[in-house]
Symmetry: C2
Subunit: 282 residues, 2 copies
DNA sequence: AGAGGGCATTCGGGAAAACCGTATGCTGAC
DNA sequence: GTCAGCATACGGTTTTCCCGAATGCCCTCT
């Protein structure tokens, strides 16, 4: 036990925990599986604790492993921060956002961030919610901006793949709209999996007759042509509401809650990252 | 720059910074000077920054080195905490105290600490103020309990060897005493360097006729025998005040301020350590 | 049931790094 | 001017790191 806890070992450990397999982690790290396996074993031996249960399908974290995982991430973050502090390197933050938000709502958020923290380099990548969550869980992304509902991550109807922390940085209002004088049915919905579709399922239930279209924009156009009603986010329908091409259907009380513009990240990341993320809120 | 910041390198770096020489650090670490030198050079190269100025008398920190030093300590502390969290190892805290405090005032402080934080193993070492400060600066001691005056560390008249944080955990009242009916002069003082002597110099000035004795206890005994007056801490004279063997001389207003029972530690140590230390305050 | 694929691990070897003891060059002190 | 103390360069040994190939395991698909 003379040799203790190398940062590289921790990096390997985190990679294995994220990938769930030694092989996957080795690929991600550009190493051979044998090397990663040995490093993990060495780490376990130096700590005197089993970090993984070996199964023929991969590696499952033990309790001690789970304990170490969050702390190891924090320590690696800390090390990174130290390195940056002394090299004067700028901090690079990798943020992902739902494609639908990237164009409309993201710029204002990023403007706030760069005004308050001009010392940052921000990478932005538009992705699907699944990819966002996977990359945040895997550490490829520092945080993700998506739509959600309620107090807990996943309230909109998806299940986060890891223990995520969150912060709401804005709101998105939903409008149930139709063309003036047009049909109110069916409910025109976007493809299953789309956040707005999840919101429609959550808010309006699934009993209404519905027609699935390929995108929010398509649903809006169909609605404008009187083909039914649609539950759409403010940024998609504001112009049409202003011009009168679409009119809000008087929702029953409480039928149109606001979605949260929600920033999520892996719980336990360094405090410095949290500060950065909080600088994105209004 | 493929290989980045090994914890062991940071340990070496901190040791060199503390010792001021590679040789000293090597002795402290149980390594050969050549090894330590190479590690430091490797670290500098991997960071792309010069950490030390090489002088023929030793190593002097550069600005970047000073920046790294505090953060490296913090990171090493963090790593230690992570290791403890997963191995379930108990935390060991090394505390030093002025010899004169160890017997009388330290037990109550430690009782508070172990009542609030039973998960700790506390090492206590009685030392002189010089040793205390040196060991805290060098990292051999986590914190030191000593006497001080005013808002800043060193207000009693010594200069701290590093950037120290502090917390006052109690007070020590000073009494200017003499035997009833005995002489009031000279002022009987303890050896220069002793905290109580510093306090006497600070509070009473140096104009009074004075006689230097070998210890506080000696000064008290001389005072009891009517050989002069002495400025003594409460814990040394309480019994004699109670019995009437010594009586307080009415000090001019504000002449007998209270000393602070002060806990000092190296600024930048991990937050977890701070929590421990705060648990020692009243 | 049997073959095949994905998995972690073991093994042997080669490259890199850590470490040591010694030797060298430097500077300030005596 | 010599000497002590310092950092460092050098050659050699031990340890670590990493790889490719081979092994054994278990699940799955046929």
């Amino acid at each position: 036990m003379l040799t203790c806890m190398d940062l590289r070992q921790l990096q390997n450990f985190v990679a294995v925990a994220a990938a769930g397999t030694v092989t996957g982690a080795a690929n991600a790290l550009g190493l051979a599986p044998a090397s990663v396996s040995e490093q993990v074993r060495r780490l376990e031996h130096s700590l005197g604790v089993a970090l993984f249960e070996r199964t023929p399908r991969g590696m499952r974290l033990t309790d001690a492993g789970a304990t170490l995982l969050t702390r190891a991430r924090g320590l690696l973050d800390h090390a990174d921060e130290v390195r940056r502090a002394v090299t004067g390197g700028r901090r690079r933050v990798r943020i992902g956002a739902l494609e639908m938000l990237a164009a409309i709502r993201l710029p204002a958020v990023l403007r706030r961030l760069s005004a308050r923290r001009p010392d940052l380099d921000v990478d932005v990548r538009p992705l699907t919610r699944q990819s966002l969550l996977a990359e945040v869980a895997g550490g490829t992304l520092d945080a993700a901006l998506l739509l959600d509902l309620g107090e807990r991550v996943g309230g909109l109807g998806f299940t986060p793949p890891a223990d995520l922390d969150h912060l709401d940085v804005g709101e998105v209002r939903l409008w149930l709209v139709a063309a003036p004088g047009g049909a109110r049915e069916p409910l025109l919905v976007s493809p299953s999996g789309c956040s707005i579709r999840l919101a429609a399922d959550q808010v309006l239930g699934t009993r209404l007759p519905r027609r699935e279209l390929t995108s929010i924009a398509t649903a809006r156009e169909w609605a404008k042509q009187g083909m039914g009603s649609a539950l759409l986010p403010d940024f998609a329908v504001d112009p049409d509401l202003a011009s009168g091409a679409l009119v809000p259907l008087d929702p029953e009380s409480g039928q149109a809650p606001e979605l949260a513009l929600r920033l999520v990240w892996l719980r336990g990341r360094e405090p410095a990252l949290r500060d950065v993320l909080y600088a994105m809120s209004a």
